[in-house]
Amino acid sequence: MTVALDVTEHCKPPRSVFLPFMMGHHFGVPFHRELQLRIILAALDHLIKTERSGEIHLFPMTWAQVRQEGKVLEAEL
Protein backbone atom coordinates (compact mmCIF):
# COMPACT_ATOMS: atom_id res chain seq x y z
CA MET A 1 0.00 0.00 0.00
CA THR A 2 1.79 3.13 -1.16
CA VAL A 3 1.16 6.82 -1.67
CA ALA A 4 4.71 7.36 -3.00
CA LEU A 5 5.07 5.78 -6.40
CA ASP A 6 8.73 6.71 -6.88
CA VAL A 7 9.73 5.27 -3.50
CA THR A 8 7.94 2.03 -4.33
CA GLU A 9 9.64 1.82 -7.71
CA HIS A 10 13.03 2.10 -6.06
CA CYS A 11 12.24 -0.53 -3.40
CA LYS A 12 10.80 -3.00 -5.95
CA PRO A 13 8.28 -4.94 -3.85
CA PRO A 14 6.68 -7.97 -5.54
CA ARG A 15 3.25 -6.35 -5.66
CA SER A 16 1.84 -3.02 -4.58
CA VAL A 17 -1.22 -0.80 -4.75
CA PHE A 18 -0.62 2.87 -5.52
CA LEU A 19 -3.08 5.24 -3.91
CA PRO A 20 -2.66 8.79 -5.24
CA PHE A 21 -3.70 10.26 -1.90
CA MET A 22 -2.20 12.57 0.69
CA MET A 23 0.58 11.08 2.79
CA GLY A 24 -0.83 9.41 5.91
CA HIS A 25 -4.22 8.82 4.27
CA HIS A 26 -3.68 5.50 2.49
CA PHE A 27 -7.22 4.33 3.27
CA GLY A 28 -8.93 7.57 2.34
CA VAL A 29 -10.75 10.00 4.54
CA PRO A 30 -12.25 9.75 8.04
CA PHE A 31 -15.43 7.74 8.54
CA HIS A 32 -15.60 6.59 4.88
CA ARG A 33 -16.01 2.95 5.81
CA GLU A 34 -17.05 1.81 2.34
CA LEU A 35 -13.98 3.38 0.72
CA GLN A 36 -11.67 1.95 3.39
CA LEU A 37 -13.07 -1.50 2.66
CA ARG A 38 -12.79 -0.97 -1.11
CA ILE A 39 -9.10 -0.12 -0.79
CA ILE A 40 -8.34 -3.17 1.36
CA LEU A 41 -10.28 -5.39 -1.06
CA ALA A 42 -8.31 -3.95 -3.99
CA ALA A 43 -5.10 -4.90 -2.20
CA LEU A 44 -6.33 -8.41 -1.40
CA ASP A 45 -7.49 -8.87 -4.98
CA HIS A 46 -4.06 -7.78 -6.21
CA LEU A 47 -2.46 -10.20 -3.74
CA ILE A 48 -4.29 -13.05 -5.48
CA LYS A 49 -4.08 -11.94 -9.11
CA THR A 50 -0.51 -10.69 -9.50
CA GLU A 51 1.15 -12.61 -12.31
CA ARG A 52 4.73 -11.42 -12.03
CA SER A 53 6.81 -9.56 -9.48
CA GLY A 54 6.70 -5.78 -9.68
CA GLU A 55 3.09 -5.30 -10.72
CA ILE A 56 1.61 -2.09 -9.36
CA HIS A 57 -2.16 -1.72 -9.15
CA LEU A 58 -3.20 1.88 -9.72
CA PHE A 59 -6.23 2.58 -7.55
CA PRO A 60 -8.79 4.30 -9.81
CA MET A 61 -9.61 7.38 -7.72
CA THR A 62 -7.97 10.76 -7.26
CA TRP A 63 -7.41 12.47 -3.94
CA ALA A 64 -9.81 15.21 -5.06
CA GLN A 65 -12.56 12.63 -5.65
CA VAL A 66 -11.90 11.01 -2.28
CA ARG A 67 -11.98 14.35 -0.46
CA GLN A 68 -15.23 15.26 -2.18
CA GLU A 69 -16.83 12.00 -1.12
CA GLY A 70 -15.59 12.64 2.40
CA LYS A 71 -17.17 16.09 2.49
CA VAL A 72 -20.52 14.73 1.32
CA LEU A 73 -20.32 11.92 3.86
CA GLU A 74 -19.52 14.20 6.75
CA ALA A 75 -22.31 16.59 5.80
CA GLU A 76 -24.71 13.65 6.17
CA LEU A 77 -23.34 12.58 9.56
Binding site: A4, P13, H25, P30, F31, S53
Partner: protein
Protein backbone atom coordinates in the same frame (compact mmCIF):
# COMPACT_ATOMS: atom_id res chain seq x y z
CA UNK B 1 -5.54 -0.78 -13.72
CA UNK B 2 -2.39 -2.78 -13.17
CA UNK B 3 0.99 -2.03 -14.71
CA UNK B 4 4.50 -3.46 -14.47
CA UNK B 5 6.72 -1.03 -12.61
CA UNK B 6 9.06 -0.55 -15.57
CA UNK B 7 6.16 0.79 -17.67
CA UNK B 8 5.31 3.59 -15.24
CA UNK B 9 6.99 6.94 -15.74
CA UNK B 10 8.93 8.22 -12.76
CA UNK B 11 7.19 11.23 -11.27
CA UNK B 12 10.33 12.81 -9.78
CA UNK B 13 13.36 11.07 -11.31
CA UNK B 14 15.95 13.55 -10.00
CA UNK B 15 14.67 13.68 -6.43
CA UNK B 16 16.24 10.41 -5.37
CA UNK B 17 19.75 11.47 -6.34
CA UNK B 18 19.29 14.89 -4.71
CA UNK B 19 18.33 13.38 -1.37
CA UNK B 20 21.16 10.88 -1.52
CA UNK B 21 23.65 13.68 -2.19
CA UNK B 22 22.49 15.53 0.90
CA UNK B 23 21.97 12.48 3.11
CA UNK B 24 24.29 9.78 1.72
CA UNK B 25 22.83 6.30 1.81
CA UNK B 26 19.49 7.43 3.21
CA UNK B 27 17.37 6.27 0.29
CA UNK B 28 16.97 2.64 -0.68
CA UNK B 29 17.40 1.50 -4.26
CA UNK B 30 17.03 -2.18 -5.10
CA UNK B 31 18.29 -3.64 -8.35
CA UNK B 32 16.00 -6.70 -8.43
CA UNK B 33 12.35 -7.27 -7.66
CA UNK B 34 11.53 -9.36 -4.61
CA UNK B 35 10.55 -12.84 -5.91
CA UNK B 36 6.80 -13.31 -6.08
CA UNK B 37 5.37 -15.65 -3.44
CA UNK B 38 1.91 -16.78 -4.44
CA UNK B 39 -0.87 -17.28 -1.95
CA UNK B 40 -1.06 -21.02 -1.33
CA UNK B 41 -4.68 -21.20 -0.18
CA UNK B 42 -7.98 -19.38 -0.43
CA UNK B 43 -8.13 -15.96 1.17
CA UNK B 44 -11.01 -17.23 3.29
CA UNK B 45 -8.58 -19.75 4.79
CA UNK B 46 -5.61 -17.41 5.10
CA UNK B 47 -4.21 -15.82 8.25
CA UNK B 48 -3.49 -12.17 7.46
CA UNK B 49 -1.34 -9.62 9.24
CA UNK B 50 -0.85 -5.88 8.89
CA UNK B 51 2.50 -4.10 9.17
CA UNK B 52 2.63 -0.32 9.38
CA UNK B 53 5.23 2.41 9.77
CA UNK B 54 2.61 4.81 11.09
CA UNK B 55 3.83 4.73 14.68
CA UNK B 56 0.59 3.24 16.01
CA UNK B 57 0.85 1.64 19.44
CA UNK B 58 -1.31 0.48 22.32
CA UNK B 59 -1.96 3.24 24.83
CA UNK B 60 0.51 3.02 27.69
CA UNK B 61 3.24 1.21 25.75
CA UNK B 62 6.72 2.75 25.39
CA UNK B 63 6.43 5.67 22.96
CA UNK B 64 8.56 5.63 19.84
CA UNK B 65 11.53 8.02 19.87
CA UNK B 66 10.31 10.41 17.20
CA UNK B 67 13.14 12.95 17.57
CA UNK B 68 16.15 10.65 17.40
CA UNK B 69 18.39 11.97 14.58
CA UNK B 70 18.99 8.50 13.09
CA UNK B 71 15.78 6.68 13.93
CA UNK B 72 14.05 4.33 16.36
CA UNK B 73 14.74 0.73 15.33
CA UNK B 74 12.15 -0.86 17.60
CA UNK B 75 8.63 -2.06 16.84
CA UNK B 76 5.41 -2.57 18.78
CA UNK B 77 2.96 -5.43 18.70
CA UNK B 78 -0.59 -4.16 18.32
CA UNK B 79 -3.10 -6.86 19.31
CA UNK B 80 -5.45 -7.21 16.36
CA UNK B 81 -8.50 -7.50 18.62
CA UNK B 82 -8.02 -4.04 20.16
CA UNK B 83 -10.39 -1.21 19.43
CA UNK B 84 -9.34 2.13 18.00
CA UNK B 85 -9.80 3.78 21.38
CA UNK B 86 -7.05 1.51 22.77
CA UNK B 87 -4.50 2.94 20.31
CA UNK B 88 -2.50 6.12 19.86
CA UNK B 89 -0.04 7.57 17.34
CA UNK B 90 3.58 8.38 18.14
CA UNK B 91 4.98 9.77 14.92
CA UNK B 92 5.35 13.34 13.66
CA UNK B 93 6.72 12.77 10.16
CA UNK B 94 3.47 12.45 8.22
CA UNK B 95 0.15 14.33 8.26
CA UNK B 96 -2.10 12.80 10.92
CA UNK B 97 -5.06 15.12 10.39
CA UNK B 98 -7.24 12.28 9.13
CA UNK B 99 -5.88 9.58 11.42
CA UNK B 100 -6.51 11.65 14.56
CA UNK B 101 -10.20 11.70 13.66
CA UNK B 102 -10.45 8.14 12.37
CA UNK B 103 -7.40 5.92 12.83
CA UNK B 104 -8.67 3.62 10.07
CA UNK B 105 -7.38 6.02 7.40
CA UNK B 106 -3.84 4.81 8.16
CA UNK B 107 -4.35 1.73 10.36
CA UNK B 108 -7.63 0.07 9.28
CA UNK B 109 -7.92 -2.28 12.23
CA UNK B 110 -11.73 -2.07 12.37
CA UNK B 111 -12.13 -2.82 8.66
CA UNK B 112 -9.80 -5.83 8.90
CA UNK B 113 -11.69 -7.10 11.94
CA UNK B 114 -14.94 -6.79 9.96
CA UNK B 115 -13.55 -8.67 6.94
CA UNK B 116 -12.32 -11.46 9.21
CA UNK B 117 -15.68 -11.61 11.01
CA UNK B 118 -17.45 -11.88 7.63
CA UNK B 119 -15.17 -14.75 6.64
CA UNK B 120 -13.64 -13.04 3.63
CA UNK B 121 -10.30 -13.32 5.40
CA UNK B 122 -9.65 -16.60 7.23
CA UNK B 123 -8.40 -14.90 10.37
CA UNK B 124 -6.10 -12.16 11.59
CA UNK B 125 -2.80 -12.79 13.32
CA UNK B 126 -2.99 -12.21 17.09
CA UNK B 127 -0.91 -9.07 16.57
CA UNK B 128 -0.36 -6.42 13.97
CA UNK B 129 3.05 -4.73 13.84
CA UNK B 130 4.01 -1.09 13.96
CA UNK B 131 7.15 1.01 13.81
CA UNK B 132 8.08 4.52 12.68
CA UNK B 133 9.42 5.56 9.32
CA UNK B 134 11.98 8.28 8.66
CA UNK B 135 14.86 5.94 9.48
CA UNK B 136 18.11 7.49 8.27
CA UNK B 137 20.22 4.31 8.22
CA UNK B 138 18.44 1.93 5.81
CA UNK B 139 21.20 -0.68 5.98
CA UNK B 140 20.92 -0.91 9.76
CA UNK B 141 17.14 -0.86 9.36
CA UNK B 142 17.23 -3.88 7.04
CA UNK B 143 19.63 -5.82 9.25
CA UNK B 144 17.82 -5.22 12.54
CA UNK B 145 14.26 -3.90 12.58
CA UNK B 146 13.13 -5.49 9.31
CA UNK B 147 14.50 -8.87 10.43
CA UNK B 148 12.93 -8.50 13.88
CA UNK B 149 9.52 -7.73 12.40
CA UNK B 150 9.83 -10.57 9.89
CA UNK B 151 10.57 -12.99 12.74
CA UNK B 152 7.60 -11.67 14.72
CA UNK B 153 5.28 -11.97 11.71
CA UNK B 154 6.34 -15.58 11.14
CA UNK B 155 6.01 -16.31 14.85
CA UNK B 156 2.39 -15.12 14.69
CA UNK B 157 1.70 -17.59 11.88
CA UNK B 158 1.00 -15.03 9.16
CA UNK B 159 0.37 -16.45 5.69
CA UNK B 160 -0.11 -13.08 4.00
CA UNK B 161 0.68 -9.51 4.97
CA UNK B 162 -0.43 -6.05 4.01
CA UNK B 163 2.49 -3.65 4.36
CA UNK B 164 1.65 0.01 4.72
CA UNK B 165 4.53 2.51 4.83
CA UNK B 166 3.05 5.73 6.17
Amino acid sequence: MTAPSDEIKQLRPELWETINERYPGSMITKTDFVPLARLSKLLSQTRLTFVSSAGIQPRGSMPFDVVHPVGDFSFRRVPSALSVSDLEIHQIKYPTTGALRDLNVIFPIERLQELAAEGLIGELTPNFFSFIGYQMDPEHFEQTLAEDIADAVVSDGAEAALLCPA
